[in-house]
Amino acid sequence: MAMRIPLALFAVIMVAGVLLSLVLPEYHLRLLNLSVISAVAVIGLNFAFGYAGLISLGHAAFVGMGAYGLAILTTRYGWSPWSAMPVAVAATAVFAGLIGFPLLRLKGHYLALATLGLNVSFYIVASNWIALTGGTNGIARIPELHIAGRALSGEREFLWFGLLVLAAVAAVASILHVSRHGRAMIAVRDDEIAAEMTGIDATAVKIAAFVLSAICAAIAGCLFACHMRFIAPEDFSYAHSITYLAMLIVGGESSIAGAILGSVLLTFLPEWLRFLGPAYLVLFGILVLGILVFLPKGIVGLARFTPKPPKLAAPTPVPTPEAGS
């Protein structure tokens, strides 16, 4: 029963994604790959911002840490991407936990500014620690992923793998959402003191949400590095953090479906508006603003039947004899 929504989410992502992968032209497949990678990162941001209410403007830094971790281990030390990936993700998680401890004492705008500072620091380090990161030249020739001896070199093959990762991340996220841990995060966002008053360690919950969000970001970073096979500091600037936040809010915060829809929309929208030339930014801005004003719950607010924030899995009332204990 409780697994119904995660499984449905997994199936919908796979089916819709694979169908799209069969009909779309190569260039759109590339955009879809970028959407999928962003969606993994934005589902992560949803843990921190959507559930626990931590405004993070430094999400791209964690994406960058995952990407650089994988790039450095593969190109400098000759690791395979498969073994580099868990190490890069784990290292990012540990870093997020360590930095989260002092950072999450801050609230609201202060936390937003501090995370923004973290992102700017990451950019400066990545640009200037030339011996390790290659500086602004970035790191090239990142090896491609191989599955069963076959390279995921085409956009379509990579997309299938990306969809699998996204579907798995989305399913895990939705399992967490309806668990005691998900409720604890939401409780902390709604009222931190009341949450403490139910025995919840608010600090621990916030750090956990922050680390979870960094783990998803690092997974997205690893995907990005393997997909582009070249990374540079500009790929992880604070502007990307703001884009991730916009994707979440436009799609619908606190919603996994929203995180995915927002990522796809904000990746494709600039391309659809390309015919406008430089004026596209104006329309882009107006469209995003329009969504925020008219759909405060994001695109998922449009359709009530979408698996918005998946509520309790079982809508059936609990049989009374059991409950009367």
């Binding site: 966002r189 009222d191 009341a194």
Partner: protein, 245 residues
């Protein structure tokens, strides 16, 4: 042994003494009311007891163990429970989910068991029909009952209630008083009640402490408090006659 004890609690805010040398002892299953005019330091006392405010001086003991510097959530895990004057619920969760969040204090309970436990409490509190409602659709009084249910779901041995009857209509106040009596009878729950509703206080309390300007001006049985000249002049008003007397 006392479930909860405060020894010589003092708290100053700048030049204002919010609490001066307050002692409070609550035995297992005992019902103690704290009354006094607004600004007397009643809520500050609860904040000190729950760890939201650190006292300048004095000690808080839970089951004889000093918890003066212990984090709030750990005191709750040790058997303390509290509701707030403003009624603080988790507004993005349903009624049932709110109570499940309280029940989740027991780490060994799975999702189904959490739901069962929460549902049983909602039924006891007369809220089971609203289990799947959003908090926003409830009246203020019902919302406060959800908060109380959530606190009960944590399985406290002592419950601190901050003006639970404020904003409730008279029917709801009676209902609340009935529930509190039941809970005490059934679970031996000790209660510290802050309340302005004197009929509720006089009906339930075994012992009353009266605060004024952060000082204890009287403590004793309800009948003694009602006759105490200091209490009458500071709070109840000269000529106060309890309706039930």
């Amino acid at each position: 042994m006392n479930v909860l004890e405060a020894r010589g609690i003092s708290k100053r805010y700048g030049g204002l003494a919010a609490l001066s040398d307050i002692d409070l002892k609550v035995g297992a299953g005992e019902f103690v009311a704290v009354i006094g005019p607004n600004g007397a330091g009643k809520s500050t006392l609860l904040n000190v007891l729950t760890g939201l405010v650190m006292p300048d001086d004095g000690q808080v003991l839970l089951d004889g163990r000093v918890v003066t510097r212990t984090a709030t959530h750990q005191r709750i895990r040790a058997g303390l429970g509290r509701t707030f004057q403003q009624g603080r619920t988790f507004n993005r969760l349903t009624v049932l989910e709110n109570v499940m969040t309280g029940a989740a204090i027991r780490r060994d309970l799975g999702e189904a068991a959490l739901r069962r436990t929460a549902m049983a409490i909602l039924e006891q509190m007369g809220l089971s029909a609203e289990a799947d409602e959003a908090i926003g659709s409830l009246s203020y009084g019902r919302r406060r009952m959800v908060e109380l249910s959530r606190a009960l779901a944590c399985g406290p041995r002592i419950l601190l209630l901050d003006e639970p009857a404020a904003g409730l209509n008279s029917g709801e106040v009676d209902q609340l008083a009935d529930r509190l009596s039941e809970l005490r009878a059934k679970h031996g729950l000790a209660v510290v009640l802050i309340e302005h509703n004197m009929s509720m206080v006089m009906r339930l309390a075994e012992r009353i402490m009266v605060l004024n300007f952060g000082c204890r001006i009287a403590e004793g049985a309800p009948s003694a408090i009602q006759a105490d000249p200091a209490v009458l002049s500071a709070y109840l008003g000269e000529g106060y006659v309890h309706a039930g007397m």
